[in-house]
């Protein structure tokens, strides 16, 4: 499980295209949420999944859409 966390973190950093990175960040948030659940912390797992896998990639995608929309 921890190895999965390390792999996801590496992949998030090494992806240079922000669009791809948003999806990888969502997966990373989900993997962290599962890890927190395995470590007997359900409150934190719920919060991390809701924030890190839904709200955060959403904001990244919206920021990217805004930046790209300005170039048209």
């Amino acid at each position: 499980m921890l190895v999965l966390v390390a792999l996801s973190a590496t992949s998030v950093v090494l992806a240079h295209d922000p669009l791809r990175q948003a999806m990888l960040a969502s997966i990373y948030g989900l993997v962290l949420g599962i890890l927190f659940f395995v470590w007997q912390a359900p409150d934190v797992a719920l919060s991390q999944t809701v924030v890190g896998a839904v709200a955060l990639p959403l904001m990244i995608l919206l920021a990217l859409a805004k930046m790209r929309g300005g170039e048209e």
Binding site: A41, D43, V50, A55, L62, A65, K66
Partner: protein, 258 residues
């Protein structure tokens, strides 16, 4: 500083940081051996004392309610910051949509997405309210439930278009929710002072643990925080959305008229 020099400086600094971190972490007790006394004390006394079965929520809203007040206001000021930073670009709305690429149609949302999205909104709202209300008994609480409720608003945008979301959740409503939630939470703390105890003292009557109406002020502050977080996240998301989509609604209207 050119790239190469920067990489070299970072290699030295990064490896040094890693070494220092690992050396510091080596001194910690083994994973799985817990020595500190506070966790055990809290686990033993929180349930009978505050009659809540979720000890983490009790710590967040009762024993360390002051930290949650600070976090609430960090959320508040971040939302204020986002709206004030992105509001400077409002002048673009005055630009006429004709100088965009003419004749470009924005595809309408397909029926499948519409039905699924709109069908999911009521259960999401229900789940969000459930998580907020049962924060003192099962895992959950104000923050988690608040973000779930904010995503219900976003589902409305995804399944219908931007104007429908505007009608369902107007900006003044989100702002009102956020302000009232933050003020409500601070008021809970102050009323603890007024009722003759410490700041954030849990002074309301506590029922038996395991029932919905128990745990005193924790229930009230859960609702206040849920309200504030919903308003805050809805405001932030709609601020980001507004920038990308004001132009889009202009195009859609022109395409429908054509």
């Amino acid at each position: 500083m050119s790239d190469r020099v920067r990489m070299r400086v970072f290699a030295v600094a990064g490896l040094g940081l890693l070494a220092l971190l690992l050396w510091g972490l080596w001194g910690l007790p083994d994973f799985g051996v817990y020595r500190g006394p506070y966790g055990d004390i809290l686990n033993r006394i929180a349930v009978p004392e505050r009659s809540t079965t979720d000890v983490v929520t009790a710590v967040n809203f009762d024993y360390r309610g002051f930290d949650t007040l600070g976090e609430e206001f960090i959320l508040f000021s971040a939302v204020v910051g986002v709206t004030s930073i992105l509001r400077g670009l409002r002048g673009e709305r005055a630009r006429a949509p004709e100088d965009e690429a003419a004749g470009r149609r924005v595809p309408e949302t397909s029926l499948a997405i519409r039905v699924t999205g709109l069908g999911l909104v009521p259960p999401t709202i229900l789940i969000g309210l459930y998580v907020v209300a049962h924060g003192h008994q099962t895992p959950g609480g104000g923050f988690q439930g608040g973000v779930i409720l904010a995503t219900a608003l976003l589902l409305t945008y995804l399944s219908a278009d931007y104007m429908t979301m505007r009608r369902v959740g107007p900006t003044w409503l989100s702002e009102l929710a956020e302000g009232m939630g933050a003020a409500g939470f601070a008021l809970v703390g102050v009323s603890g002072l007024v009722a003759g105890g410490a700041f954030f003292e849990n002074f309301l009557g506590k029922g038996t643990p395991g029932e919905l109406l128990s745990a005193g002020t924790i229930l009230v502050s859960n609702f206040a925080v849920g309200l504030a977080v919903t308003g805050g996240f809805a405001l932030m998301l709609s601020e980001f959305l507004q920038q990308t989509l004001v132009r889009r609604s202009g195009r859609q209207r022109r395409a429908r008229r054509a």
